[in-house]
Amino acid sequence: MIEILNTGPLNTIQDIGRPGYRDIGVTASGAMDPMALKIANLLVGNDEGAAAIEVQTFPFRLRFSGATAFAVTGGGRAALDGVSLPPWWSQTAGAGQVLELLPSPASARAYIAFAGGLDVPLVLGSRSTSLRGAFGGIDGRSLTNEDILQLGEPARTVFAADGLGVVPPATALSALFPVAADGTLLVRALPAGEHDLFGADAERFWSQSWKISAQSDRTGYRLSGEPVRPTAPVEMRSYGIVPGVVQVPPGGEPIVQMSDANTAGGYPKIAGVLEADLWRLGQARVGSRLRFVRSSHAEARTLDRAIAAYVDDISNTSQMVARALKTMAGR
């Protein structure tokens, strides 16, 4: 059992999401950084898509009521009873211990997974909180102080006694996920349906760096910069959308739809972010800058494979190391 001691607004329970219901208007939701969620779960022996806490406002504090293996991945600086933990780390907490997360400069969102996963009811196949729909998680709402969260039955009982972590993806996969010299996030994307209707402005969409405005959340990021507009007004028929779609409302400043986006939209779309780069966008902070880089399906497949290999490697090696440590400890 977990007790929330201190939370800011908009911290929620998320799993890998509820795809499959877009045709009745239900947003997939799910972790903004699905890779961090999967790794946190793998480190505590859960299925990679189990429910965890997504922390996006800090400080965040919780107390363990009993011995519990947990993992913290993504952003945030974690400390257990005041002792700092390395980033992307798993450990076993004792009864009464307090885990605290403070913000980290590089990444926006932290994931806390627990052995057994958070045990909240499945709604339409997922435990993810849908704030707009007001269902999932705990009654469709954000976490609040004094919330008590129950855990499922752990699948694994043996964990590295001194803790165990991973080399974070930004380091392990740095060659494939570059950042510009000035810190601008480079986000790979493909032109979308109305790209060419923007005429000369389309090139300015790719060449300029956009700032993630303060009006950005799990629904979408509003970008600020030099506006881009189609050469003539476009009236669209509503169409299905996915996270990563870059739409341009009449004002000319793009919106990138994220995990809690509507399932359909009507604004012209200029680009679509590669699925393999969405986790980085999910970690981009308000006020930071990004630039869109034209990509290809071939590059998308290379990135997909690299992510899958990295996650598989963590899954296999973490289990193997835990077994080896157990063997050695038992002698």
């Binding site: 002792v83 390395p86 980033p87 992307w88 590295a160 001194d162 803790g163 165990l164 972590g165 991973v166 080399v167 974070p168 930004a170 380091t171 392990a172 990295y310 490697d313 963590i314 296999n316 090696t317 973490s318 193997m320 190391v321 077994r323 080896a324 440590l325 063997t327 050695m328 400890a329 038992g330 002698r331």
Partner: protein, 142 residues
């Protein structure tokens, strides 16, 4: 850490798996008067690690040594850390993280075993170390 029986095939198998995951070909491990060498023969399906154990004498020291928790690559700092490494010698407390052992994408902590002055780092950053290999020397506080 309790004693490890290098005569036990299960132990050798776990170590061999760890070595394979770390992408190394072999390792020598010293434990008091014994030495174990494990060689991974690649390209052979279900290769059995070759092991030899022999008597070996080691010099006794007064310092507490901090041993590697598993075989792998020694990292003096977290791979994602941008902070400069801490100067030696310096005071440490039990449980303090002194470095990491990297096995593929996995990191295991190397923790101070006692209170004292961390005098020396014995393994080079990025070098391959064996299970139980001394990595640091701590002079106990008087």
């Amino acid at each position: 850490m309790s004693r490890v029986n290098f005569g036990d095939p299960a132990v050798i198998a776990s170590l061999a798996a760890a070595l394979e995951a770390a992408g190394v070909d072999g390792i020598e491990i010293e434990q008091d008067a014994r030495k174990v060498r494990i060689v991974i023969e690649r390209g052979i399906l279900g290769a059995v690690p070759q092991v030899d154990a022999s008597q070996h004498s080691s010099a006794a020291t007064h310092a507490i040594s901090v041993a590697a928790p598993t075989a792998g690559l020694f990292c003096s700092a977290h791979p994602a850390s941008v902070a400069p490494p801490l100067e030696l010698p310096r005071e440490v407390v039990p449980g303090e993280m002194l470095g990491f052992i990297r096995v593929g994408p996995i990191l295991l902590p190397v923790k101070a075993s006692g209170t004292g002055i961390l005098m020396r780092s014995l393994a080079g950053d990025g070098s391959l170390v064996g299970y139980g290999e001394p990595l640091f020397e701590i002079e106990p506080c008087p």
